[in-house]
Symmetry: C2
Amino acid sequence: MESEIRLFRQFIKKKGLRYTREREAVARAVLARQDHFDVEELHLTVQAERPVSKASIYRTIPLLIEAGLLAEVFHEDGHMHYEPMFGRGHHCHLRCTQCRQVKEFSDHRLNEIERDVGLKFGFAVEGHKLEIFGLCPDCQAKGQEGP
Amino acid sequence: MESEIRLFRQFIKKKGLRYTREREAVARAVLARQDHFDVEELHLTVQAERPVSKASIYRTIPLLIEAGLLAEVFHEDGHMHYEPMFGRGHHCHLRCTQCRQVKEFSDHRLNEIERDVGLKFGFAVEGHKLEIFGLCPDCQAKGQEGP
DNA sequence: GTATCTGCAAACCCTTTGCAATAAG
DNA sequence: CTTATTGCAAAGGGTTTGCAGATAC
């Protein structure tokens, strides 16, 4: 984690910005998480270490994304959800449409599809987002026995 | 198109709801489109035939989605974008991150991935959303010659 | 005739922004 | 010291909702 923090500091400095306690606190909170979260949750996590306003959270998020430490996952329930990029390879999401739990997976065939589609349309592909949705085992079971 | 309208009418009736002029106007506007659109554009399209408030557009959208005539595509620029499902097979999107144009494609390997991931996690898969993004040929060219 | 639906306008919620005070370098 | 950054509170913009009048059936 410390190496990512150093990276973030370098990134901030290189842009001619100031490395503030608030920015570091947000970065640390993001790196400490292993799962998806929204701004509300991130704000609470950050608060545990240092009082930082939501405005600053919102202003720091684009920096973390540009620095490669954070990524938008999907917009749901009227707000954006994020995930840390700390030492994790690219992966996709499998979501239960009932209980909303999210599983992660990756599949090499996606790289092939990405390459082929890029070639076909002449695009310089930068990445992809795949989400598969359905009912998880638990919700399938509950669905059968009734409410 | 008339057959889809009939389908929608059946759907509405079966739910014990009322088949109003407004609902039909929104359904017709959706079916008439072949491309992506947002609520603002849909509202304008509907208005051409009949004055319908935005509130009614918003209230009708979930019905059209449930009826299988409409689908959410992605949330961008602070609002949701939709596409008609009128007689079109499932497809995915290739988007230019610069000019925002969207191409459609489909690939059989996605069905395989969907099936395999579902089996691995025990999910009853309902569908997927794949978006590949990158630079379209035009924007690549413009990028090289400078602004 | 009755219950649902519509339009309007206000409410909501997430996100962004203007500004004076504060802190980084 | 100088300029960027913060917190606050207000503004913004998409979406939802309460309510009285209109409409489907």
